[in-house]
Amino acid sequence: MLEINCPWCGPRDQIEFSCGGEAHIVRPLEPENLSDDDWADYLFYRKNPEGRHHEQWCHTAGCRKWFNAIRNTVTYQFETVYRIGEDLPEKTSR
């Protein structure tokens, strides 16, 4: 079980969290002006990297806050966590 550092509550067991998948997917402001392909890209297509992955997590059984994390999909190590709206830590910029 992973230990995840909620940016609001501190380190807690993974069982308290749920993973929301890839982070930094921005909802298009004017969906009606998008082509089917562009909409599908937003809706369906996700990165599946081997290594660093920007993810959204929610402290579901805790403060219920969503936050961002950079997690290595090979080692499962969390590089960092940061709150929604916070800038990416500089060294890890996308």
Partner: protein, 1004 residues
């Protein structure tokens, strides 16, 4: 049969406590401190098991977790535990055990015939023979399993209790041998919170079977000194009988502690086992090493044992496994055991050493003790039966150990003690993500670089000398404490021990027997699975060149022992066949658990039907129970399904409830619908984005039905939301969807629209809600509530009023899910039952009838109102439901763009329709598949399926809702429900509305 093999004195058993036990129905005796294995050996019981495939007799080989042979079932009834290793079972008075295979008896085994047919059972035999034709597998499996006999799970419920603990520590030390004890001492002195777990009954590890002095003390005394120091440290937890079974991510480890199985009459208040879930800052793996057997012809015969096991049985248990012992080794460690035997006055027949010129202090001492040493020799074969060995045959071997030079003759003996070197226990290191690396010096795998916060020390790290283990243990403990952030002084003195100069090991993976390959007795690599050298070589020839494939093809390492003895030999043999270095092949994956864990321990207290999902009951639940309701599970909720009168069937009850509601007055407990408070100045804008329709114009006191979509355009949930105040809305959701909808809306607010000032609160449990429905509902509300004007003009359909009902503050909604004039009354949940009873009393003269979810479903289906999750399944758009009208053109909302994707625009999508059966009495089964014509052959093209189906008491015929391809344009045409029993039911497609299609009744 039994001459006792117990030596006159010695061992740490308590000879004053005589215990009796039974094995396979025969009574024996042993002493407190014995294991089942040591007691069986003391009673000269040689054969304890019949092997898996060939049913050959097998005896005790090891003395701990590595034991592959003495697999037994202990106890009976609910206490029965299968597949335990006799070497790890502590003896108690009255213990009953039996071997898990060997029917009808160990001495006469019918399946030993398999052994005679051995040549017909090569590697992959089961795959090749039984997997095709596939349907016969279950038939074969029955016999194979019976023959294999891997114990029987008890049929009775387990009466014992099990617990789980969660704990954090600074340093977790795995293994309480000399290395672990020093590590604990150092870490403890540094002030660390330490947990030290050891699988044995007491701490000490290899010192428990050692005779060498340590720090001027006997080994047992030294262990006691250290343990008593550790016991006095308040932050140190010592866990004996506790196996660290798994090492998971982020230094999360699981310990299985066995608390009562060694007790004759355990205190019933004690938990039988506990699972410790440990998050450790640092881990020290002091897991020790397991001796490696040698692979030669008939090396599985009872009487062939590990040299270290012989030492353990003698020193710790006062049992000499044989009277005439021959040693067979390729390294120096076995000589230590020889010396122990000599010191105890026992006869050692000879030492057979594969090395042509072994050098080392211990060898000199053995030589001076007068024990013959056959240098440059091997054991090529052994002779013996179920009662032990008679002799071993030895031969001279060449320097590369692959050719017999000359046969030397026989050595008479009853036990052959073997040592092929030592395999460090790298299991937990590997589970932690580390990659073990092959080490030429010990010809085995050592821990590789650490991936998590762990370090290995001692024999588990390939450090075999006692002095080095003590030093390495202390250093590991000190540094682990430091890395965990402790600043205390973790220094410890290293006790003095005698050390020897040791010669190097000469690896030998397969002992030649002077015959062509495959000739002579079988050479076993994995005793538990009967995997032989020939099997591995055959597998390699057939192309199984990866060690993982080899494992699955030959079952090497597949047993409950997970190949603790055989795996390294097996991998080296594969490497040899492939002409590669052993390190190149690598190991198979080490997976949890290190040794088997009972289901009881895994389950802990999480047993019974109600644990995983809490049961939720409404405020009026007890009234429903008292009034005979049958309940239905909806999500976690218990909802009244129908209320049968005495003697009434379900159909009769539902019919009565439906008709009463349509004709006069029904009452429903609707508390389970999800309720979410939405507050804040941007609430309307938020609803506008979440729901498909427009919310900017809803007036205070009005309600609106809303449909929400996933971003993929599929219907996700629905419900009525009302505007309570200026910036205050109350949303209702489906019963099952409430939690998901709240979480989903929260996510949009937090991650996408943090600028919207909207706040969500779940209030589902705060309110008791009852729906009063039927033409007389206005009359009863008027009777119970004087501060709300119920006239149609003052209180129109789809609006909400605050007032007092039966003296209770309430919100009253005029909404309807039945198509009747109806009111939903919301009161604080605490008032639920008084409100319900007040309504029941007031409604008596109007034949008020409580109705359950079944009648509710019938009433809404008559109206064609959908239930999300029943009439939709995550692939249904609003358009498919004929609800295009609810998607506003003037704005965006979640999922709207998806409604114009190519697939969602498709003409021939499945669309919601109504079905009426040609025979009005037939009710279609929900889920029935629909065809355009009765099937002539299968598979037949399907055009849709039934989603809801009931008999309508008001219409006196059956009704159904269905999703049918292009259904809306097919009104009046026929479809055929093809049932699994072969019947075909014709039905006519119509509008999904059956009763009061103009919606007049709810608006009166």
């Amino acid at each position: 049969m039994s001459r006792s093999l117990r030596v006159a004195n010695g061992g740490s058993i308590r000879r004053t406590r005589l215990l009796s036990f039974s094995f396979n129905g025969t009574l024996y005796s042993g002493f407190e401190g014995d294991t089942l294995a040591s007691a069986l050996l003391a009673n000269n019981v040689r054969t304890v098991h019949r092997s898996f495939k060939y049913h050959r007799p097998r005896g005790v080989v090891g003395s701990g977790a590595e034991e592959p042979n003495s697999i037994v079932q202990v106890g009976s009834g609910s206490k029965a535990t299968p597949n335990l290793r006799a070497t790890q079972i502590e003896l108690y008075d009255g213990l009953t055990a039996r071997s898990v295979s060997g029917w009808p008896s160990l001495r006469v085994d019918l399946y030993a015939l398999n052994g005679l047919l051995g040549r017909l059972l090569p590697a992959g035999f089961y795959y090749k023979t039984f997997m095709r034709p596939r349907f016969l597998w279950s038939w074969y499996e029955h016999f194979i399993r019976k023959a294999a006999g891997l114990g029987q799970a008890p049929r009775e419920a387990d009466l014992d209790h099990y617990d789980k603990l969660n704990i954090h520590c600074d340093v977790l030390i795995v293994g309480g041998g000399p290395t672990g004890l020093m590590a604990a001492r150092a870490a403890g002195r540094a002030g660390a919170r330490v947990i030290m777990a050891d699988e044995q009954a007491e701490m000490g590890g290899s010192l428990l079977s050692s005779t060498a002095s340590i720090g001027g003390k006997k080994p047992g005394d030294w262990v006691e000194t250290v343990v008593s120091e550790l016991t006095r440290m308040p932050e140190v937890i010592l866990l004996p009988r506790s196996t660290v079974t798994g090492y998971y991510d982020h230094n999360f480890l699981v310990i299985n502690e066995r608390r009562t199985d060694h007790l004759e009459r355990p205190d019933p208040r004690l938990r039988r086992e506990r699972i410790w879930r440990v998050r450790a800052s640092q881990v020290v793996l002091a897991t020790g090493a397991i001796e490696r057997p040698l692979v030669f012809s008939n090396n599985d015969k009872p009487g062939v044992m590990l040299a270290s096991a012989v030492s353990t049985y003698l020193v710790r248990y006062g049992v000499l496994p044989g009277r005439k012992i021959v040693f067979f080794t390729n390294n120096d460690s076995a000589y230590q055991t020889v010396l122990q035997l000599v010191d105890a006055g026992m006869e050692v027949v000879a030492v057979v050493d594969v090395r042509s010129d072994p050098q080392g202090d211990l060898i000199q001492q053995v030589r001076s003790a007068g024990v013959p040493i056959f240098e440059g020799h091997v054991v090529v074969d052994v002779r013996g039966g179920t009662s032990g060995l008679r002799m071993v045959l030895i031969a001279r071997v060449n320097k590369t150990l692959d050719e017999i030079l000359s046969h030397k003759g026989e050595l008479r003996c009853d036990v052959l003690a073997v040592s092929g070197g030592w395999n460090p226990v790298v299991h937990l290191h590997a589970q932690s993500g580390g990659k073990p690396v092959f080490n030429e010096e010990c010809a085995s795998f050592l821990p590789g670089p650490s991936v998590q916060n762990e370090r290995s020390a001692g024999a588990g790290n390939g450090t075999f000398g006692l002095a080095d283990c003590l030093r390495e243990g202390a250093e590991a403990g000190r540094r682990a404490a430091q890395d965990a952030g402790l600043t205390g002084d973790g220094s410890v003195d290293i006790p003095k021990v005698e050390s020897h100069v040791e010669g190097s090991l000469h690896p030998i993976w397969v002992v030649p027997n002077g015959l062509a390959e495959g000739r002579g007795g079988k050479k076993f690599v994995d005793l538990q699975n009967d995997t032989t050298v020939a099997d591995i070589r055959l597998a390699a020839r057939e192309g199984y060149r990866s060690v993982e494939h080899l494992k699955r093809y030959t079952a090497l390492g597949f047993g409950t022992d997970q190949g603790k003895l055989g795996n390294i030999n097996g991998m080296a043999i594969l490497a040899d066949v492939l002409g590669q270095a052993p390190g190149k092949i690598g190991t198979t994956t080490f997976r949890p658990n290190y040794t088997p864990v009972t289901f009881g321990a895994i389950a802990g207290r999480e047993i019974g039907s109600t644990f995983f999902d809490p049961t939720r009951k409404t405020a009026v639940h007890q009234w429903h129970v008292e009034n005979g309701a049958e309940f239905e599970d909806v999500g976690q909720w218990k909802r009244p399904w129908y209320y049968p009168l005495p003697g009434e069937t379900m159909n009769e009850a539902v019919r009565r409830e439906c008709l009463a509601t349509r004709e006069s007055l029904g009452i429903l407990d609707a508390s389970t619908l999800g309720k979410i408070e939405i507050r804040g100045p941007d609430s309307a804008e938020f609803l506008n984005r979440i729901y498909t329709n427009s919310w900017l114009t809803l007036e205070i006191g009005r309600c609106r039905y809303g449909l929400m979509l996933g971003e993929d355009g599929m219907v996700m949930d629905d419900g009525v939301t009302s505007r309570i105040g200026e910036d205050h809305y109350l949303m209702t959701t489906t019963t099952g969807g409430a939690a998901h909808v709240l979480a989903w809306m929260e996510r949009w607010l937090q991650t996408e629209w943090p600028h919207l000032r909207v706040y969500l609160t779940s209030v589902t449990d705060h309110w008791f809600v009852t729906s009063v429905a039927g033409p007389n509902s206005r009359e009863i509300l008027t009777k119970l509530c004087t501060d709300i004007d119920f006239s149609a003009d003052a209180f129109p359909f789809m609006s909400v009023r605050a007032g007092t009902v039966a003296g209770i503050p309430a919100r009253v909604y005029r909404i309807s899910f039945s198509g009747e004039l109806a009111y939903e009354i919301n009161v604080s949940a605490n008032y639920g039952r008084s409100l319900w009873q007040a309504i029941m009393t007031a409604g008596q003269s109007l034949n008020i009838t409580p109705y359950g979810t079944e009648a509710m479903h019938v009433l809404r289906a008559e109206k064609g109102y959908i239930i999300v999750g029943q009439d939709t399944d995550g692939s249904v758009t609003p358009g498919d439901l004929g609800m295009d009208w609810i998607v506003s053109n003037g704005k965006d909302c979640i999922g709207k763009r998806s409604l114009s994707r190519q697939d969602t625009r498709r003409e021939n999508r499945k669309q919601l329709v109504g079905l009426t059966t040609v025979d009005p009495t037939l009710v279609l089964p929900e889920g029935a598949q629909l065809l355009n014509e009765p099937a002539k052959e299968f598979p037949a093209p399907m055009v849709g399926h039934v989603t809801s189906s009931y008999f309508s008491p008001s219409l006196r015929h059956s009704i159904a809702l269905a999703l049918v391809k292009g259904g809306r344009s097919r009104e009046g045409s026929m479809v055929y429900a093809q049932l699994i029993d072969g019947r075909v039911i014709p039905a006519t497609i119509g509008q999904p509305k059956f009763f009061d299609p103009e919606n007049q009744r709810q608006k009166v």
